[in-house]
Amino acid sequence: MIRFENVGLRYGFGAEVLRDLSFHIDSHSFQFLTGPSGAGKTSLLRMLFLSLKPTRGLISMFNRDTATLTKDDRATLRRRIGIVFQDFRLLDHLTTYENVSLPFRVLGKEEAAYRGEVVELLQWVGLGERMDALPPVLSGGEKQRAAIARAVIARPQLLLADEPTGNVDPNLGQRLLRLFIELYRLGTSVVIATHDIALMDEYDARRLVLHEGRLHVYE
């Protein structure tokens, strides 16, 4: 589904922060992306999300060479990828329901066509009672679940999560991990960027470890 070959990344004229990355992510797979702070996890996630171009190497996503994509092509491919940010990136002026519906609105769908689906997902992530609440009045855990719901509502083939348990207590962290595992079982490929060892010990999965700009894969 996704293939990196000898990918390198540098910012400006500085040294390469990521070097010779060669790996693949299969469909219907689960992996942790880990490494110390500043190792480049977020940069790698941004490349996976097409919001950062590599300075060298080849990235192939869904059988397309990303170097040849137009801006609109990238937008179309992003609809097959869901992303959960560490800082949630919810829109404060929209309700939880409206935030989660956003991927459908972007596709130009009528509300009647997706309302039931959004309500069902919000209930599944435990936000059924908070649909009309605005993000500033949600707790950290509620925001995280709303962000996850938004990332998965359009049934992406790939789900990327950047430190999804970074802002929540361990109990909620475990619940969120179970949510990701459930999504993986339903057919989504999942990449969770984290440096939370305890979280990774909870579930035996493939590990992509970034260290000094290079990637080591532990199957």
């Binding site: 990136r89 829109l91 956003l102 509300e111």
Partner: protein
């Protein structure tokens, strides 16, 4: 964060916004780009004022051009023969000969020579009353009314006059007409320049306001990109606001300008017959701009709304190119 904390500068709290949003969910979705994040009110006022000025310039140019056209057609329907007194010649006989010479020519309607008394009245403001014209070499005027269709040939008329009355000259008012035409064209050109300047200021204002709105909403734009929005979708979210804003501001400004001309027209009708009204009528002709003037102002309103929409579209496009 507590729900009692302020949401905006208008004293609303997050709880109020939440209730409003809940209602919005039931009635329809809240706009992705919130209206209050766009500098709506101040930009609307700028567009309204600019449209008012542009419509005023267009209306005034139409008024002057119309008045000049009236004068021109009035002056062009007449020609004047000036018969100068010459030593050893009978002025009255020369005047009669001049009248006879032009009366037979094609394209000539009525020909009327000013009498001695009327000539004395013409110079009375400068020379005072009680002047005996016989004592002064004052020329006599013959007013020639031209038939519509422009059949009169001034070259032939001049030749005929020169043959029969040596001291007579024919003035076809061409100099006046040219000057008036130049004045009317200058007024219309000035109106167009003002319109162009107003459009330029509007474009700049809208560009700055759009950039400001996009900078304010940058987090929203980024999130839209993350959920797979194309630039076209993002641009449409902003353009909707600016098109509405342009139409609203344009309608207010254009409506005010139309109302002003309507009031002027009503005042003109009311003042007709009074000395002030006569002065104004003499200068401007009628103060009514007519349906053509109102159509021109309506065109200005549509033009300003389009300018607002196009300027914001271009700015949105340029800004989005730099946002990944």
């Amino acid at each position: 964060m507590s729900t009692s904390e302020p949401f905006d500068g208008a004293g609303r709290t997050w709880a109020d916004r939440e209730t409003a949003s809940a209602i919005a969910v039931r009635r329809g979705l809240a706009p992705i780009v919130p209206s209050d994040s766009i500098a709506g009110r101040s930009l609307g006022a700028v567009v309204a004022i600019m449209t008012f000025l542009a419509a005023l310039a267009a209306g005034a140019a139409m008024l002057v051009a119309g008045a000049a056209n009236d004068w021109e057609s009035e002056v062009a329907r007449e020609a004047t023969i000036q018969v100068r007194p010459a030593p050893g010649r009978d002025l009255d006989a020369d005047v009669a000969a001049a009248v006879a010479a032009v009366r037979q020519a094609p394209g000539i309607g009525d020909v009327r020579a000013y009498t001695r008394k009327e000539s004395a009245e013409l110079v009375e403001p400068w020379l005072g009353s009680g002047i005996t014209l016989g004592d002064l070499p004052i020329p006599r005027i013959v007013v020639v009314k031209l038939l519509p269709g422009g059949a009169a040939n001034f070259a032939d008329l001049r030749k005929a006059l020169a043959a029969q009355v040596p001291g007579a000259t024919l003035d076809d008012h061409r100099g006046w007409i040219d000057r008036m035409r130049t004045m009317a064209e200058t007024a219309v050109a000035a109106g167009m320049v003002i319109l162009a300047l107003v459009i330029a200021v509007t474009v700049l204002s809208v560009t700055f306001a759009t950039r400001g709105a996009m900078a304010t909403n940058r987090p929203t734009i980024e999130v839209l990109h993350y959920v797979g929005a194309t630039d076209g979708f993002v641009a449409s979210q902003f353009q909707r606001h600016f098109l509405f804003l342009g139409l609203k501001g344009g309608a207010i400004g254009g409506g005010a300008a139309m109302a002003l001309f309507g009031i002027l027209q009503a005042a003109d009708a009311w003042l007709t017959g009074t000395p002030g009204g006569e002065e104004a009528a003499g200068l401007f002709g009628s103060l009514a701009i007519g349906p053509g003037g109102y159509i021109a102002m309506f065109v200005v309103v549509v033009l300003m709304a389009l300018v607002t929409a196009v300027a914001s579209r271009r700015t949105v496009g340029h800004t989005l190119e730099n946002i990944e």
